[in-house]
Amino acid sequence: MKPDLKMGKILILMIAFLLLLSFSVSAVSKEELKIATWEDISTFDPGWLTSVERELTIMSCLFNGLVKYKEGSWDIVPDLAESWEVASDGQSVVFHLRKNVQFHKGFGEMTAEDVKFSYERIIDPAAKSPEKGTWKLLEKVEVIDKYTAKLIFKDKMANLFTSALPMNSGYIVSKKAVEKIGQEKFGKDPIGTGPYQLASWKPKTHVKLAAFDGYWGDKPKINKVTFLPIVEDSTSETALRTGEINIGRSAMINVKSFKKNSKFAVYSKPALKTYWLGMTVNKPPFDKLELRQAFRYAVNVDNIVEAAFYGTAKRANTVLPPGLPDYWSDAPVYKQDIEKAKNLMKKAGKSGGFKVNLFIPGNDAERIMAEVIKADAAKAGIDVVIEVKEIGAFNDAANKGETDAYIQFYTSTIDPYYIMQWFAGESWNPSQWRNADFTELIKKGASEIDPQKRNQIYVDAQKLTDKDCWAIWLTHGTKVWIAQNNLNIGAIYPNGRMTPWTMSFK
């Protein structure tokens, strides 16, 4: 037989084998749930977590706090604490713990000792925990008995139940575990009471969780959950199409194509963050109120949001996202009005127009917004000069007020203090806006426990912001999750955070 025929046969065989392999691509095996996240988690220690929102989906699988947001809403419901009584002077709270709650990996039952240890380790000055600020009003925790703990405060703590206890710094860790392996190792090998426990963590590759069969609550329906850190949206989109992940995300522009595709289900929620076009008020041109108002009328917020978020996000009218109790629902909605803008400019003596330096970070959304702002502002004779800066340099320059205008976004929690505190202070207040009434309102809000009074304080604060017009609110952005349609996604929090323990395969 001719030698070369044999060679040809071998090559064809090899190619056939490869193709055969490819068709046997096992669609994501049934009992494992694969979720794409942005970046990898840096530590599993709730007290030492830095970038909060992204890692809460994983942390809420591993830990419980005394109380939690009810899955799918911001209502506070009992978690490890069955009930609690707030002292009349609001300076202390007594929690009655659930009995027979086991820690992961056989570290025994959760008791008041663990509660005391979990909070005092954060406020301990030597430990240098980044969450020290959240608990600065907590003085100490008293163990009444095995299942009762009393938190004692230096002053009334308004955001205790809204953004402290139910968030990561409120999670209860196993005292025995932390003492046994030390804080640093605990960051890599967390022991909590949550529905899942950590199976394996390969930095920048995956976080594998396995269902905790000793869990005190109702067992999760899916027993293996894997989080894959995928930086590029396109990689997540491709992985969704090839069926390698169950839940992923996509670039805003492609959300429509996933919506149309029957194989996928798209879930979008307004994100708990706010983008705004800020103006530096302590130097020209925006030291004049009229010019700030003129700029507000010159830009077209609807256009900006449509261009940058491809119709997946709505415009924002004030600093707080809708859905929060102290959201100022009747905040004015400013439509583009070139005539009004020009009149205001004439009143301020700048009828011939003026120049505005606009700094932005390098990511695409801000770039697109800047372009649209530049085009609209030009209609009113305002010449916007865009300068793209690397993220670190942008934050420095904006905070020091080196620019006339900037596009910035802050994430917030359901507690208004978390985002509004910055505009009363010195650091991270890029517009350099100083307003004594506003600062007074924010301080009062921090220690007002009565919800109605607290809401009114924050609404008044928002009114002050609108009056001084140092920011043009753009949007709260949106968090979009795309899931394979063979999965019911269970409850999703209003800001898009997921609850894997409520999910199941259809």
Partner: protein
């Protein structure tokens, strides 16, 4: 067969002196004619000249400003006013490809010249002092740098120095100089035995003079061939580093960055990735064909055939 007119006076001169004696433009013409004769050389030459023209005259050739954004018409397909379509910010891809030539050519020539100058100098010095301590030190240096996988070392250097066009050239040059060094050293070992070198030594010329006047010109032929081949690799690595976000800073138009954006929006508009990929491929083919032609032209053995 037309034989080169060799007059008696030129007999006995070293090839390099021969080259230097004739005006260097003649040598260039002779070499280029030889390269063009080689089948691939012609096409390689044509495409490289197109690239050079684009690089130098980008502002006149490209239909529109590469950084002009047109948000409303982004991700547009190829059309009459945008031959290659537009990218995610509505910029014209065709103009960006043309401006991309500029980066590719700057990096290729910059890195190659820098690494060859350093490499050849060290190579010749070590070859000339064969067996002495400095020779062993230089060989040791060559071997160390050569044992790094090139792109990984370049990547680390750029990461440390901070991404910019200049740092990319430095990083690529640093990883490549040993190759020129070794070629130069090998050539020097053979050339330094030649009589014209011995004659120069006999006349008491200082080693540095001997190296620059007599040795270096005579070892350039193989080095020049390496230059051609290396330029292609440098272009690939620049686009690779830019692809990783470690090369040129946006918004400058570099093929690597366009590949990165193509990758980021691979689902939205697949063709955004094709144009830079095509540009890189054509540049690579052109340079390898041209340097193949160069090798044949400069290799005396091949020329007789």
């Amino acid at each position: 067969m037309k034989t080169d007119t060799i007059n008696q006076a030129e007999v006995g001169m070293s090839p390099a002196q021969l080259v230097l004696k004739r005006k260097w433009t003649d040598t260039l013409r002779v070499t280029l004619r030889a390269v063009v004769k080689v089948k691939g050389g012609l096409w390689g030459g044509i495409f490289i000249s197109i690239m050079l023209i684009c690089a130098i005259g980008a502002q006149w050739i490209s239909p529109s400003d590469p950084n002009a954004q047109d948000i409303m018409h982004r991700f547009a397909g190829p059309s009459l006013d945008h031959f290659f379509g537009t990218d995610y910010l509505g910029r014209d891809i065709f103009s960006r490809i043309i401006y991309g030539c500029r980066i590719a050519v700057m990096v290729a020539f910059g890195a190659v010249t820098l690494s060859s100058i350093v490499g050849v100098f060290l190579g010749v010095v070590s070859g000339y002092n064969e067996g002495k301590k400095i020779d062993y030190f230089i060989i040791w240096l060559f071997d160390i740098v050569r044992s790094f996988p090139q792109i990984i070392l370049a990547l680390a250097i750029v990461a440390v120095l901070g991404p910019s066009l200049f740092n990319v050239v430095i990083a690529l040059a640093f990883t490549a100089f040993p190759f020129y060094g070794r070629v130069a050293r090998a050539q020097t070992l053979s050339v330094k035995e030649a009589d014209y070198v011995k004659a120069a030594e006999a006349m008491g010329l200082k080693p540095l003079k001997i190296i620059s006047r007599h040795i270096t010109p005579n070892i350039m032929a193989p080095v020049i061939v390496c230059l051609g081949m290396d330029m292609a690799t440098m272009i690939v690595w620049e686009s690779g580093l830019s692809f990783l976000g470690l090369g040129v800073r946006p918004p400058t138009a570099s093929w690597g960055i366009m590949l990165r954006n193509g990758y980021k929006y691979i689902q939205t508009s697949p063709w955004m990735i094709l144009w830079p990929a095509l540009a890189i491929a054509l540049a690579m083919i052109a340079f390898s064909l041209f340097s193949e032609g160069l090798r044949v032209a400069l290799d005396p053995k091949e020329r007789e055939r």
